[in-house]
């Protein structure tokens, strides 16, 4: 679970800090920095996991336009397995040779170092926070990702596990691919690997599918089940029953709205609970008005008495009114400058937030 994110010199985020609670909705006008925050967390996660090289996640275009300093800094506080971790990353950019490198990277557990690297040299620590050997790190990759799990560095393994449990997604139904060759435990940013993640669920948590089917059946009573078909290339199929006749549809044959609904419930059921943080950027796109509140209630229900977190971005009035009052984080950006977090507006009247926003009575970007 993410407690806070700090960022400096990253796009519109300058000396920026945002705190999260169990359910939040990021509110702000177009261009206020909501998706920037999501993509930054996605990038930090991918970097820590060693999924991608530094320059593929943090290129020169991510530097704040009006800043001249060459250092980007980030700090992410997360919790997992009853431990509190702080991850720090500094990236140095050389504008002359158009290269960047990891200047400093550190992980603290309960305010004590469990990993630290500076200028290509990393110090390892054991679970008693005692300094261990030094290793050389690649300036383009996270040193954390290069450290193997041992019996005496469980805390770093817990940190990596907590990072793995941050899922950032902006589901794009049009990009959702219909087949998979291999299982993939985590969704990609656009959820274009849905069948691969489905295959992973089939292998590891098949019991979750029946819950998913129950929810899908509540939406469409004709829905029966989903399954994978094929040997090497497995296609995700949907079975419906019409007048006692079973009908099979491929994922690619569903409407964008049906794909969006399935994707939404698939993510909520599989990536909420168990310490997961699910961050969804406009998951309500394509979803019919009738299904919006049940979808939001499903998120709410998934948080009850369990260790989990959900952060949403949405411009849908129903979603705004459901979550803004108690979990709204208001972002504003004046004159295309830096993104700031502002207090929730006290409206003093009985109109809903969405109505006030649509009338321009609450300035999302003040």
């Amino acid at each position: 679970m993410i407690e806070y994110l700090k960022a400096d010199n990253y796009k519109s985020l300058v000396n920026f800090k945002i705190d999260f609670s169990k359910i939040n909705i990021l509110l702000g006008s177009n261009g206020s920095g909501k998706s920037t925050i999501f993509f930054l967390i996605y990038s930090l996660r991918a970097f820590i996991r060693g999924d991608k090289k530094l320059e593929n996640l943090f290129d020169f275009s991510t530097l704040t336009r009006w800043q001249t300093v060459n250092i980007q800094t980030f700090e992410l506080k997360i919790t997992g397995k009853k431990q509190s971790f702080i991850y720090q990353l500094e990236i140095e950019y050389n504008r002359d040779i158009k290269k960047n490198k990891v200047r400093r990277e550190a992980v603290l557990c309960n305010d004590k170092f469990i990993f630290k690297s500076e200028n290509g040299k990393a110090t390892l620590y054991n679970d008693s926070f005692e300094e261990g050997p030094e290793i050389l790190t690649n300036w383009s990759y996270s040193g954390v990702s290069a450290v193997f799990e041992r019996n005496d560095n469980k805390l770093l393994a817990f940190f990596k596990d907590a990072v793995n449990r941050i899922v950032v997604c902006e589901p794009v139904p049009m990009l959702v691919d219909g087949s998979a060759e291999e299982a993939d435990p985590y969704p990609e940013f656009a959820l274009d690997n849905l069948p691969a993640v489905y295959l992973s669920v089939v292998q590891k948590n098949p019991e979750k599918l029946s819950k998913l089917w129950t929810m899908m059946k509540e939406i469409n009573p004709s829905f029966e089940r989903t399954y994978l078909e094929g040997e090497s290339e497995k296609k995700l199929c949907f079975e419906y029953e019409n007048n006692k006749v079973k009908q099979r549809y491929l994922l690619s044959e569903l409407s964008e709205g049906e794909k969006a609904l399935f994707s939404f419930y698939f993510l909520v059921i599989n990536f909420m609970g168990d310490g997961y943080t699910l961050m969804l950027d406009e998951p309500d796109n394509y979803i019919s008005l009738r299904e919006i509140i049940p979808a939001m209630q499903a998120v709410e229900d998934a948080t009850g008495n369990v260790d989990t977190q959900c952060v949403l971005i949405s411009h849908h009035p129903k979603v705004i009114d459901y979550y803004a009052q108690s979990g709204g984080i208001w972002l504003s950006r004046y004159s295309y400058g830096a993104t700031t977090v502002t207090d929730a507006p006290k409206t003093g009247n009985v109109l809903t937030y969405s109505e006030l926003i649509s009338r321009g009575d609450i300035n999302e970007a003040q």
């Binding site: 229900d301 006290k346 003093g348 109109l351």
Partner: protein, 186 residues
């Protein structure tokens, strides 16, 4: 004794904490998720006023639909007032827009937790030292769904008519409202 699960239930309340509590209460009664909807919540700091002003609107809508298997479920904090004052206020708001106040033959129920919904949540979570004077507001802020066990317990108690030992008068009042709704929707 149970609420009629053929009805749709529209919740008018102040915030997500109340909505969660009432929704879990209704679900425990066997009402399907998609038969429960809520009136949008207001911005921060005007929940009670919002409910008062929307009450006549929703009551009118209920009547326009000729009570077509739809019930209105209102929840508003009593705060430091008397429960009776809240009923009177809601009636006054109806008079202002020239519609009759709620009558006892229509499927509209008003829960008025005193001092607030969190009082009931704490009570049904098994806390012993609970009264209607102290303010427990927002103790579950950010964890609104954690109220589910308490809401379920209240729902079961109401179904079983098990409120004889209740120490909170506002719960006894809510039980009366519940019984009324069961009878009207039967």
């Amino acid at each position: 004794m149970k609420l009629n699960n053929e009805y749709k239930y529209v919740i008018l309340c102040e915030d997500r904490q109340m909505e969660c509590f009432i929704r879990y209460f209704l679900e425990e009664q066997g009402i399907e998720k998609r038969k429960i909807s809520n009136v949008d919540f207001p911005g921060k700091g005007c929940g009670e006023q919002y409910v008062r002003e929307h009450f006549p609107v929703e009551l009118k809508n209920l009547r326009t639909r000729n009570y077509n298997l739809t019930a209105l479920f209102v929840c508003i904090d009593c705060d430091k007032h008397d429960v009776e004052d809240i009923y009177k206020e809601l009636d006054e708001y109806c008079k202002e827009v020239k519609i009759p106040g709620r009558n006892r033959k229509e499927p509209a129920v008003i829960f008025i937790p005193k001092r607030n919904i969190e009082t009931w949540i704490k009570y049904y979570s098994g806390e012993l030292d609970i009264d209607e004077i102290r303010d427990y507001a927002h103790f579950l802020r950010g964890r609104e769904a954690d109220c589910r066990p308490a809401a379920q317990k209240m729902s079961v108690c109401f179904m079983e008519g098990d409120i004889t030992g209740e120490r909170l008068p506002s719960i006894t009042g809510a039980y009366g409202e519940y019984v009324h709704l069961v009878e009207v929707t039967a």
